[in-house]
């Protein structure tokens, strides 16, 4: 098996392999040919499949999202690139009023097989209109499957699954996990099978086992949580790290089981803090594991401010390894730490 560096390579390879088998797949969006949708998700495809199937669109998010709706209703499986998730404002009507609803509103007549690729996240100085993650907004709207791959293996397997799914699936690829040379890389190079494989949506992954505290996160935050867990281990604190992988459908069971085991939960999210993923996961966990919890569920997320530009400001709002570490320490407390390290 060969190694892949980053999610962009996994996503692009998955699309390539599925396009080779399924004539109905077309790629639409801004800069999807030469620039591979800028963040690499469609790199190399136009050379192989040509401009009739890999189509650069005018900069018109609402119109190409609407075209994806119409094309899907007419039998294609469009893969649409929303270059930065922040641009959803320009295309959201077609997504949340049509793409997400037409199957339901048509009484099941019209399938809506659309795969949306979008780049998320900050940490490299792109400020408030190019650094958000926003998967909470999409998860809130019934009708989208929400995928947040943290590894190249997941990126490939979930993309294959999306391309075989008759529903709208949005793949939120974090820029700092793409593995592209012009961005910092916080992921790991890892072995990924060359042959296509589909992963099941709604299965969380326990990335690290532990007994004192459960940290739940997604995307880039999984990697930062793992780094915090390593530091905590030196302090004698055993941390379980869970990667939710998909918000819709959500694997509540794995989260609840871990919460019952450790009795302490910290949810780490790069989305805005209020009315989002952290609150929803906390609700689901307390509903089933309340008696096992030793303290209220904690969270580290972006405080409710836009992502600022200047480096110290940006670092102050996007959850860092240090913030996760400190919050985890506060959760487990001193006496536990001493007891464990003894």
């Amino acid at each position: 098996m060969r190694k892949l560096r980053g999610i962009a390579f996994g996503i692009a390879e998955a699309i390539d392999q599925e396009m080779g088998k399924n004539r109905d797949i077309v790629v639409l969006g801004e800069d999807v040919t030469y620039w591979g949708a800028v963040f690499g998700f469609t790199m190399g495809l136009h050379k192989k499949y040509g401009r009739d199937r890999v189509i650069d669109t005018p900069i018109t998010e609402q119109t190409f999202m609407g075209m994806a709706v119409g094309a899907a209703a007419a039998g294609l499986h469009p893969v649409v690139s929303l270059m930065f998730v922040d641009f959803l404002g320009a295309g959201f009507d077609q997504m949340y009023n049509h793409m997400a609803k037409n199957h339901y509103m048509s009484g099941g007549q019209f399938a809506m097989p659309v795969t949306v690729l979008t780049a998320i996240g900050g940490g490299y100085g792109d400020a408030g209109q190019h650094s958000q993650v926003l998967y909470g907004l999409f998860s809130h709207t019934p009708g989208f499957k929400i995928v947040i791959p943290s590894t190249a293996f997941d990126a490939k397997g979930f993309t294959v699954a999306a391309l075989r799914d008759p529903n709208p699936v949005i793949i939120f690829g974090h820029k700092l996990l793409t593995g592209l040379p012009f961005l910092p890389f916080e992921g790991d190079e890892e072995e990924v099978p060359e042959e296509p494989y589909a992963l099941e949506f709604g299965k969380a992954a326990v990335r690290r086992e532990g007994s004192d505290l459960t940290i739940i996160s997604a995307g880039l935050m999984v990697h930062r949580s793992l780094k915090a867990a390593e530091r905590l281990e030196h302090d004698g604190i055993s941390v379980e790290v869970i990667d939710v992988r998909t918000l819709v459908p959500l694997d509540s069971q794995t989260l609840v089981e871990s919460a019952r085991k450790t009795g302490r939960v910290l949810i780490v999210d790069e989305d805005y803090q209020s009315f989002g993923m952290t609150g929803e996961l906390a609700f689901r966990i307390q509903a089933e594991a309340f008696a096992a919890l030793k303290e209220p569920i904690r969270r580290v997320a972006v405080p409710d401010v836009p992502i600022p530009f200047s480096e110290p400001l940006e670092n102050a709002v996007i959850p860092s390894v240090e913030r996760i570490y400190q919050e985890a320490k506060a959760s487990v407390g001193k006496e536990n730490k001493v007891a464990r390290s003894a």
């Binding site: 609402q62 119409g70 209703a73 469009p78 199957h103 339901y104 048509s106 019209f110």
Partner: protein, 345 residues
């Protein structure tokens, strides 16, 4: 009324040249009558429970209601040229397009009543009608029809099918960003797309003079290098002639067209609209140009139908509508559990 009225011989020439026959015209007359009677029957049922106090939630038909009485010629003039496989994406005022496209009248009526036998099993309602069998859909969001029809047109092009997609809209929607965006994309990729702008002079209550910078919307299509035609939307023959040319072009790979049909809705933007924004005189003026009456008179002039044939067509249409309304009324309401099914496939 703003177009030169052809004499009988010229009319025969124009109609025949466009491929119209006595049979086709009589079919159109019957379809337009069907739409008229349907809309009037829905209006009657809609006000049950809503008088004297108007309450959107009351009566057998809940919610908003946008009827297309007066706009029958645009729907029939275009859809008569389409096959089941061709796609139509309509608007918040969709009944005339649905009927013209061949959507089952019983299922249409039942959906409007929120019944289980409706097109969407009661999940869509009057503004959100979907019919896979006839490739018909619509959206309650103004300006949403353009890109969706363009997407279907793109699918036809990618899969080399000789099919066309039609987006209907009002003239108000043509001020939306999706209008210009879609025209650009359609011209760029030479999509088999036909945009039909029904210019009924008012966007909700806002008259065109208060909302449109150009005198007509078709002018904007020309600047995107899209074939554009301005027609009398009260005149079935004029609409059909333009639509025939546009559909032929699109079907044979010659790209998109826009048809702007100047027409008039006799009823309010929605039922309950008091019409403060227009005069009774204006309404009367347009009624004199009624599309169904006009087509009937012309058929008689051309010797293509006599009054008895027209009456027969009207009676058939009326009976079909009565049957559909009865079907809808007798259909059951959906089981509440239906609400929880079908978010995903």
């Amino acid at each position: 009324m703003w177009r030169a009225e052809p004499n009988v011989e010229d009319l025969r020439y124009l109609a025949t040249k466009a491929g119209l026959t006595a049979d086709l015209c009589l079919t159109a007359y019957r379809q337009m009558s069907l739409i008229r009677f349907f809309e009037e029957a829905i209006a009657e049922k809609y006000y049950v429970g809503k008088q004297p106090d108007f309450n959107l939630a009351a009566g057998p038909i809940r919610g908003e209601m946008h009827l297309a009485v007066g706009q029958e010629a645009t729907a029939v003039g275009v859809c008569l040229l389409l096959s089941d496989e061709d796609v139509v994406v309509s608007t918040h005022r969709p009944h005339h397009h649905a009927i013209a496209k061949g959507v089952d009248l019983n299922q249409l009526a039942a959906e409007i009543f929120g019944k289980v036998d409706g097109l969407c099993r009661g999940k869509g309602g009057h503004m959100h009608l979907f019919d896979k069998a006839n490739n018909f859909s619509c959206s309650g969001i103004v300006g949403a029809s353009y890109p969706q029809a363009a997407g279907a047109a793109l699918a036809f092009k990618v899969s080399s099918k000789q099919l066309v997609a039609v987006a209907f809209s009002g003239e108000g929607a043509a001020n939306h960003g999706t209008f210009g965006e879609t025209l650009n994309a359609a011209a760029l990729w030479q999509l088999p797309l036909i945009i039909v702008v029904e210019d009924n002079l008012y966007a909700d209550s806002t008259p065109k003079w208060a909302a449109v910078g150009t005198s007509q919307q078709y002018q904007r299509a020309l600047s995107y290098a899209v074939n554009a035609l301005l027609v009398d939307g009260m005149d079935f023959i004029d609409v059909y002639r333009a639509a025939k040319a546009a559909v032929d072009r699109a079907r044979h790979g010659y790209g998109p067209s826009l048809i702007e049909a100047v027409c008039y809705r006799y009823r309010g933007h929605f039922e309950g609209d008091l019409g403060e924004y227009r005069t009774q005189e204006e309404l009367e003026l347009w009624r004199r140009r009624d599309p169904i009456t006009l087509l009937g008179e012309r058929l008689k002039k051309l010797g293509w139908a006599d009054e008895a044939a027209l009456e027969r067509a009207r009676n058939e249409a009326k009976a079909e509508v009565e049957q559909a309304i009865a079907f809808a009324e007798s259909s059951s309401l959906p089981d509440p559990n239906e609400a929880f099914a079908g978010v995903f496939r």
